[in-house]
């Protein structure tokens, strides 16, 4: 007896694209781990094997005795062979140490776990980087687009003048000028320092972040404006744009639907890298505005020979950049169907 007719097999969704993507992501994540290991090893060699200053002597007082040197060396774990120190470091990163996971050791300078110091500083840097990124996108891209559309007009010249000025203006100078004008002379802006919104309220946090955001963003906005302008002008000369116009699409639709999408793809790549880099700290902006973030910490740690802190910041920055790079590549494939995960 024949059974009921079997339902025709449902069309198997073509999962090969998804599978490719996940394989790609997994491969890239492994690559991230490898890159971090290499970077940590290089950092280790630079700062532990051939340090510019010997941290033991630095933290043993002005007139160290051999006993003190030995004690400090032991406390810092520097009395073990370097290869053992490095393997311990890697082990602690993956499995955690006495302070938790990931184990990043303790700061020579502050005698405190790197994790807690990092946890206190990451929100500061994240606040600065994300806020500034938003500002530079909001300022930079519209200016670049306007400049490209109104090419060779006053708008274009003003826009490119803006870009030239802020590309040329050093951030430390710009920061000091902003502080002098808007805080010291006019009293419009709050002064320096970071005031977390969980402890001081959103308004206070915002007040103290606006100037750093703007100062940091102006440099990037200038770059993005120039890039957006160049890309859009190039794209608007492509054949498919001419085709779109020939089909009778409105100029607005041609620009925003067809021109802009394709011209902004390279900017996504740049944005990911820039944001990743900034998560490692914007040293100058953080210093000028007294934002105790990752960058300022790295700078101080180099000066004080706080090697575990330098190592931790290097790792975080490397991770942020490689991870951002990965995200960008994935997003890129969505934006540009010609890109495949292979």
């Amino acid at each position: 007896m024949r059974g009921p007719p079997q339902a025709a097999p449902a069309p198997v969704p073509s999962g090969s694209d998804d599978w490719d993507m996940w394989r790609y992501v997994a491969r890239r994540l492994l690559w991230v781990v490898f890159v971090l290991l290499v970077i940590s090893a290089i950092t280790y060699v630079i700062f532990f094997i051939m340090p510019p200053v010997n941290p033991v002597v630095l933290f043993a007082g002005k007139s160290p005795t051999p006993t003190i040197l030995a004690t400090v060396s032991h406390q810092f774990g520097l009395d073990k062979p370097v290869w053992e120190q490095y393997l311990l470091f890697v082990k602690h990163v993956f499995l955690g140490d006495q302070y938790g996971w990931p184990g990043l050791g303790f700061s020579f300078q502050y005698r405190e776990s790197i994790r807690s110091l990092m946890a206190a500083r990451l929100p500061v840097t994240a606040s600065l980087a994300l806020g500034a990124a938003l500002v530079w996108l909001v300022i930079g891209i519209p200016i670049g687009v306007a400049s490209a559309i109104k090419r060779r007009t006053l708008v274009d010249r003003l826009a490119m003048g803006f870009a030239l000025f802020f590309v040329s203006a050093p951030v430390f100078w710009l920061g000091l000028m902003f502080l002098w004008i808007f805080w010291f002379r006019l009293g419009w802006a709050a002064g320096t320092g970071y005031y977390g919104f969980t402890t001081n309220g959103f308004g206070t946090w915002l007040n103290h972040m606006v100037m750093p955001w703007v100062v940091l963003a102006l440099l990037y906005a200038a770059f993005y404006a120039r890039m957006a302008r160049g890309n859009l002008i190039e794209t608007m000369g492509e054949d498919y744009i001419r085709t779109a116009r020939a089909k009778g699409l409105s100029e607005r639709r041609v620009i925003f639907r067809h021109g802009l999408r394709s011209s902004l793809t390279p900017i996504v790549t740049m944005f990911g890298m820039d944001l990743g880099g900034l998560m490692g700290g914007a040293i100058i902006t953080e210093t000028v505005f007294n934002l105790q973030g990752i960058g300022q910490w790295a700078y101080q740690s180099v000066g004080t020979g706080d090697i575990p802190a330098i190592l931790a910041v290097t790792l975080v920055t490397s991770f942020a950049i490689t991870f951002a790079n990965l995200v960008v590549d994935i997003v890129y494939a969505y934006l540009d169907p010609r890109v495949r995960y292979s």
């Binding site: 002597v57 002005k62 004690t71 502050y110 005698r111 210093t287 007294n290 000066g303 004080t304």
Partner: protein, 633 residues
């Protein structure tokens, strides 16, 4: 103590300033110093002293047992009390000792080996300990110093001085040379007469420490965020520290008012009784010290009145120029003796500096006036003519003693050449160093930023006049020090060196800088290798050799001689020591006795400098800013 040498950023900022300031401040005398009102009105109690620093830069995590940073000692002056202490004022008077926790100065046995103190009653630890301070708490501080795990950075002031103290003990153990027969008596037994022992008892590491809290921090630096007050001020939030929690819990919950990356807020200790203390005035209700990595911002805030004073960072050029040239601002610039000597050090083991006549010639040829200008002029310090800053010798030896005097302190080719002619390196007797292998390509270590980089061409050119050709190697501060403090490097000459006192006795210069006991392979501070012998080289593994036929002078017996004396005899002994080192050993060219610069706002109504710490006196200054303590934190 360690001053600002690790504050690279601040010094870089200062460096930028110097060239411009030099013109503005040449010959300009600084504003009021040591102690003076800076605004109308008498000091009143209240308000909050608001100040900032680019980085705390602690060397021992702010743990009193370990910490060797002068700035930290400034804070301890407001937080901790010792058996004897200072009035925390400026000038030579600021170096005088008075009983603090003790009822009076100690009874000292005729042989100088036993010191007996009696403690005042009614002095309590701050919250959360809240109990009376006993002699056992002071003994415990010494037991911590003696524990090798604690890493006491200046334990050498007690090791081998107090019986039973070696700094090598594993764990907290009683010290045989310290007796506490009852809660208010403490007796120290010394191994040898030590004329500056009272100064050593005024060091922060010897202030009482409550075992209830400190037991949780057996290794160096840990107690720094949990320091319990015995003085007029405590870390804000101390009262919230629970003594009932386990050590593993406590270490995770430091006192809230201190975050070494951000701030230190000191508020009044409710258990402090002013009636027990006639050394400190304690005008302000609180002290708010913020970390601000932007040095310019600190001084802008002082100018804007949102800070009452700078703290330890040297002012940037533009700021300094304004305060030096504007009569209305000048009273707010304070220049006080930093009890620090900047010097060029010469290695007694390396040619041509292994010849005393060459070293004397170098002393005569260096244009010290030009070096002072390279720093920015007299506001940055007085030209040094010998080893110890005058205040260290209670002005018994001032700049009037100048064994290498030249007109205008600009150097003298004739005098230098006359000395060079006596040297074995001048066989032609032309007043120049003639032997190429000894007189050329001599490595000179220096720092890579101003004023050191500004001084460098002056020194290079001066030395060239007498045939000494040096090759400068410029390094970052820490690297420069570590290059010259590693003996096997055998660096012939260095321009980067400076030394500040730990306490106001010349021993703190003599022993580490010229004593053979300081000679160790790494971390050596006797850069000139004074007193080195073949036996010491072998024993310590210094990795150097003594040139054949060279007899390296030693001053160990002189140091021991002075150390065993007290009072006026001791002072004269150190005067003789300084003169002997300058004329017989000649290891240095001292060129500047540095000042510390502070800028205050009009809201600071009484300015006082703390000569011991070298910074603002937190317990003697007053403000009128009406800031409330509740607004802090």
């Amino acid at each position: 103590m360690i001053g600002l040498k690790r504050k690279t950023a601040g010094l870089l900022g200062m460096g930028l300033a110097l060239a411009l300031v030099a013109a503005a401040c040449g010959g300009t005398s600084p504003g009021p110093s040591a102690s003076s009102p800076t605004a109308s009105g008498q000091p009143t109690r209240g308000g909050v002293l608001r100040t900032a620093i680019s980085s705390f830069g602690f060397t021992g995590g702010f743990d009193p047992t370990d910490e060797y940073l002068g700035l930290a000692w400034d804070f301890y002056g407001a937080m901790l009390r010792n058996l004897v202490s200072y009035k925390h004022i400026g000038g030579a008077a600021g170096n005088a000792l008075y009983p603090d926790l003790a009822t009076s100065m100690p009874e000292i046995s005729p042989d100088g080996l036993t010191y007996t103190f009696h403690l005042k009653s009614g002095i309590k630890f701050g919250p959360p300990v809240n109990r009376e301070i006993t002699s056992q708490d002071i003994a415990y501080a010494f037991e911590r110093i003696n524990d090798k795990n604690a890493g006491a950075e200046y334990g050498f002031y007690y090791d081998g001085v107090i019986k039973g103290m070696t700094g090598q003990v594993n764990g907290i153990k009683p010290v045989s040379g310290i007796e506490t027969p009852d809660a208010t008596t403490i007796i120290f037994h010394l191994t040898q007469p030590t004329g500056d022992f009272l100064y050593r008892l005024a060091m922060p590491a010897t202030a009482p420490i409550p075992v209830e809290v400190a037991k949780c921090f057996p290794t160096g630096g840990g107690y720094g965020r949990f320091v319990i007050s015995s003085g007029p001020y405590m870390i804000q939030g101390s009262q919230d520290l629970s003594l009932s929690q386990s050590c593993s819990q406590m270490v995770k919950n430091p006192i809230s008012g201190f975050d070494p990356t951000k701030q230190l807020i000191l508020v009044r200790n409710p258990n402090y009784a002013q009636s027990t203390d006639n050394l400190r005035s304690n005008y302000v209700n609180a002290i708010d010290i913020q970390v601000d990595a932007n040095v310019s911002d600190i001084f802008n805030k002082v100018a804007a009145g949102t800070l009452d004073s700078s703290l330890a960072d040297p002012p940037p050029t533009t700021t300094l120029t304004q305060y030096l040239t504007n009569p209305s601002k000048k009273p707010y610039l304070h220049s006080d003796s930093g009890d620090r000597t900047w010097y060029i050090t010469m290695n007694l083991l390396t040619p041509p500096f292994d010849d005393v006549h060459v070293r004397e010639a170098v002393n005569f040829i260096i244009d010290k006036a030009a070096l002072q200008q390279a720093w920015g002029g007299p506001v940055f310090g007085q030209i040094a003519t010998h080893i110890m800053p005058p205040i260290m010798l209670n002005n018994a030896l001032t700049s009037s003693y100048d064994p290498y005097k030249t007109p205008g302190e600009t150097g003298s080719l004739a005098l230098a050449q006359a000395q060079m002619k006596l040297s074995k390196y001048d066989p032609k007797h032309d007043g120049k160093c003639d032997i190429a292998s000894a007189c050329t390509n001599i490595v000179m270590i220096n720092r890579n930023y101003a004023p050191w980089s500004t001084m460098e061409p002056i020194v290079v050119q001066d030395l060239a006049k007498i045939g000494i050709q040096v090759v400068p190697r410029e390094l970052e501060t820490g690297a420069a020090y570590q290059t010259i403090d590693t003996t096997k490097n055998n660096i012939p000459i260095a321009l980067n060196a400076g030394w500040g006192k730990d306490y106001a006795d010349p021993f703190t210069f003599a022993q580490p800088l010229f004593g053979s006991a300081a000679l160790i392979p790494v971390g050596n501070t006797n850069y000139s290798m004074v007193g080195v012998t073949s036996a010491i080289i072998k024993k310590q593994g210094l990795g150097v050799t003594i040139p054949k036929g060279l007899s390296v002078p030693s001053v160990d017996s002189l140091i021991n001689q002075c150390e065993g004396q007290a009072g006026a005899t001791r002072q004269q002994c150190w005067v003789n020591f300084d003169e002997y080192v300058m004329t017989k050993v000649v290891p240095w060219v001292p060129y500047l006795w540095a000042t510390n610069l502070t800028i205050t706002a009009p809201s600071l109504t009484k300015w006082v400098f703390d000569q011991f710490s070298g910074y603002i006196s937190l317990t003697q200054v007053a403000v009128n800013n009406n800031i409330s303590v509740s607004s802090l934190g």
